[in-house]
C-alpha cells in the first residue's frame, strides 16, 4: 500500500523534473505577483508590512489554481488514468500519491519562497516564521481541495474557469486563517489558534478528499 503511494509520488516527481519549465512557471508566477504589489501601491514600509500576509496568501491561492489543471489532465489524455482506475490498489491511495507529489512541486516551493518574501516586506523574524508555518499547513489543503475541483472538471471544455469558480470559495477559510495568523502576531497576539485550525483543516482534507477525488474521477472518465 505504501509502495503504491511511493511509486506514484516517484513517477510524478520524475515527470515534474523532466518538465521543469512547467513547474517553475507556478513558482515564478507566485513571486512575480507578490513583487509587483509594492510597485503598484508604493513603497511605504508600514503599509507594505500590513498588507504582506494577505498579498502572499492571495498569490499562493492563485498559483495553486494555476497548477491544478496539470494534476490529472495529462494522465487523462494519455490513458494512464484509466490504468489507475482499474488498479488492484485502492484508488484513494493513488490519488493521495498524486496530490502529495503536486504539493511537493507547488506548495513546498511556495512555502520556502515565503521566507524570502517575508524579508522583502520587512515582516520581522516572528511574523515571517508564522507566515511560513501557516503556508506549510495551508498549502496541503489547497492541493487536496483543488484535486476535487480538478477531478470534477476533468475533460470538460472550459474546465479551467469552472475549477476556479468551484475551488476558490472553498479556499476562503484557509485564506482567512492563514493571513489572520500573521496579523495576530503583528498585533502581539499568539498565532497558535490560527495554526491549530489550519492544521485541523489539513487533517480533515487529508482524510476526506482522496475519496471525493476518486469518486469524481470515476464519473469523469466514463
Amino acid at each position: 500500500m505504501i509502495g503504491t503511494v511511493a511509486a506514484v509520488v516517484r513517477r510524478d516527481l520524475l515527470l515534474a523534473f523532466r518538465q521543469r519549465a512547467d513547474v517553475a512557471n507556478t513558482l515564478l508566477f507566485f513571486v512575480v505577483v507578490v513583487t509587483m504589489v509594492p510597485l503598484g501601491v508604493g513603497a511605504e514600509p508600514n503599509l507594505l508590512r500590513a498588507i504582506a500576509p494577505g498579498v502572499v496568501w492571495v498569490a499562493a491561492l492563485l498559483a495553486a489554481i494555476l497548477s491544478l489543471n496539470r494534476l490529472f489532465a495529462a494522465d487523462f489524455a494519455d490513458g494512464t488514468l484509466e490504468q489507475m482506475l482499474i488498479s488492484a490498489e485502492p484508488l484513494p491511495l493513488i490519488v493521495l500519491g498524486k496530490t502529495a507529489a503536486h504539493w511537493l512541486v507547488t506548495g513546498l516551493p511556495v512555502t520556502a519562497m515565503s521566507v524570502v518574501l517575508g524579508v522583502m516586506f520587512d515582516l520581522g523574524a516572528e511574523a515571517t516564521a508564522t507566515l511560513a508555518a501557516a503556508l506549510a499547513l495551508g498549502t496541503p489543503v489547497l492541493s487536496l481541495v483543488g484535486a476535487v475541483g480538478a477531478a470534477l472538471t476533468l475533460g470538460l471544455r472550459g474546465g479551467g474557469v469552472l475549477v476556479s469558480l468551484l475551488v476558490l470559495p472553498l479556499y476562503v477559510p484557509v485564506l482567512i486563517l492563514g493571513a489572520g495568523s500573521v496579523e495576530a502576531v503583528a498585533a502581539g497576539l499568539g498565532a497558535a489558534p490560527y495554526l491549530l485550525l489550519l492544521g485541523a483543516l489539513a487533517l480533515f482534507a487529508l482524510v476526506l478528499t482522496p475519496w471525493a477525488v476518486s469518486a469524481a474521477l470515476r464519473i469523469s472518465v466514463e
Binding site: A7, R11, L14, L15, D78, T80, I86, E89, P90, I94
Partner: protein, 212 residues
Amino acid sequence: MLEARDLECTRGERVLFSALALRVEPGTLLRVAGPNGTGKTSLLRMLCGLLQPTQGEVRWREKPIRLLKEEYWAALAYVGHLNGVKDDLTAAENLRASAGIAGLDADEGTVRGALDAVGLAGFEDSLARFLSQGQKRRIALARLHLSGAVPLWILDEPFTALDARGVAELSALVARQLAGGGIVVLTTHQEVPVAAVRAATVELGREREPRS
C-alpha cells in the same frame, strides 16, 4: 469465468447495443467484432468496469464486478486504445511506473525482461518521445508480460501500429495465455492471427448472441 447479462450501452441519445449477453469460459478467446461506432470500445470498457452499463451487469466468477472492485481488477490486465505511455519517461521508467500503479511487483530484471520480450531491447533508456508509434504500443503491451499470472486480458485493438513480427509475437503471447487457462477479450479489424482452441465472436451492430 466472465459473464455479461442483458448489457445495454447508450452514448448520448443513441443506444449502441442492448440485451447483450455473453459467457466466456477459461481458455477462451473472445473477439469483439463490428463496424466503427458500434460500441466495441464501450463494451470493453464496460467489461473492465470503467463504464457503467445503463442496464445489466458484468459478472466475474459469479459475482458482479460492481461489488468486487479491486478484487476483480487484480485479475484484469487492460490495454486500451490509449497507450498510457508518458513521453517524458524512458521505456523502462514507463513500464516500472505502470507496474507501480497496477500494484504489481516489478524489479529491474523483470522490467528489462518484459521490454526485451516485446523487442525493445536496447531502447530501455530512450525517452518515449523519441520512439515510434509502434514502439510505444510495444511498451503498453510489455505490461502483459508483467501480468503473466493475471487470468483476464482485455485488449482494445492490440495489433494496431505493430509490424508483422510484432503481430506474430503478440499472437504467440495471447496463445500462451489461452493455453494457460486465461481469458482474452480483444477487438480487431483484421482476422485474429491466433491459433485458439476455443474461440468465440461477438458481432456488434448485427446479431447479439455470441457464436462459436
